[in-house]
Symmetry: C2
Subunit: 182 residues, 2 copies
DNA sequence: GTCTATAGTGGGATAGAC
DNA sequence: GTCTATCCCACTATAGAC
């Protein structure tokens, strides 16, 4: 009897893998662990993700998609670049304060695999470049200088590795900076 | 071929291990690689460092010692807290721009081993706490507020993961901040 | 005695066969 | 879904060179 494939098998596996990868790091998590957490067989996993690198790339792509969905949601309330930038930073600050926060998945991957040029590394680097460009666009759109964009990018970067308690400091500061310069 | 009666065997091994650990990450480097790079036997390695964790802890301790030596050197030219803070940040900025820079070894370790509480993790966390306290001390010594210290710590954190080209932006900004507030 | 070289242990990794 | 192949891991132990 040929069994019809379960509807969300790929998503189930990917979700399980994403949780493990984010919590423990990609390198520390084995495919067997993913199989156990997903509750599927190993063959099914390799059918959907032929290698660990592809699974890691899918994990990062999923992280990006989820993150950008919540950012888009946060930014849709205002068309003013300054307000949008503040909303974006607020979104970062909130994520940093969430329980279970363990750093930026993209920066983490690049730290775990320095000098790597495989697909997950490209996904991570593409996100960082796009994210940087978005900050630049919002700052200049708000009438801010390139220097201000550089400074705000420094603070955003710092936000990702600082203690969660400092998140509000960053939000307030950037609000002050972007409103004062706009 | 028995070489000279151990002139600096421990240092030779540790130096080799430190280079590999920093460049590729602790997790990615195997003890066999360390043996090969150090040009010694496996037995000797395990005599000096009974486990990989102890070798990693020694690597981080060495990194801290070297870093603090260059910081002490940079700070000895002024007794003024504001100038000392600027020198400290300049030192960070210079290290970030050095070829082969691959991030902060302590932050990197904690990213590679999230939630770990072994000796290397304690060394890394102790350094970060002490480093943060030093910034606090310098800022308040320069007449700056706790808020300014928080902000400067954000920028310093950001400096470690930003592109090297932004290092000067950070130095200039902190110079402006600490001189304006002092 | 101090070191190198090498063989080997148990475990866990990715990956694939059936 | 189980079972296996192959490899690399940290780590140990043995045997021999200087």
């Amino acid at each position: 009897m040929a069994r019809t494939p379960a509807p969300g098998t790929r998503d189930t596996i990917l979700t399980a893998a994403a949780g493990l990868f984010y919590e423990h790091g990609v390198r520390a998590v084995g495919m067997a662990q993913v199989v156990e957490a997903a509750g599927c067989g190993k063959n099914l996993l390799y059918k959907h993700f032929p290698s660990k690198a592809e699974l890691a790339a899918a994990y990062l792509t999923l992280s990006r998609r989820e993150w950008e969905r919540s950012v888009t949601e946060a930014l849709r309330w205002s068309a003013d670049p300054a307000e949008r930038l503040i909303s974006l930073v607020t979104e970062v600050a909130e994520s940093v304060q969430r329980p279970g926060y363990r750093g930026c998945p993209f920066r983490n991957y690049l730290t775990e695999f320095p000098g790597e040029t495989d697909e997950p590394a490209r996904v991570a680097e593409a996100y960082l470049a796009d994210s940087r460009a978005q900050v630049n666009r919002l700052v200049t759109g708000a009438g801010g200088s390139g220097l201000l964009a550089d400074r705000i990018w420094l603070v955003v970067n710092g936000l990702y590795s600082a203690e969660p308690a400092q998140a509000q400091v960053a939000v307030d500061w950037i609000t002050e900076l972007v409103r004062g310069d706009a």
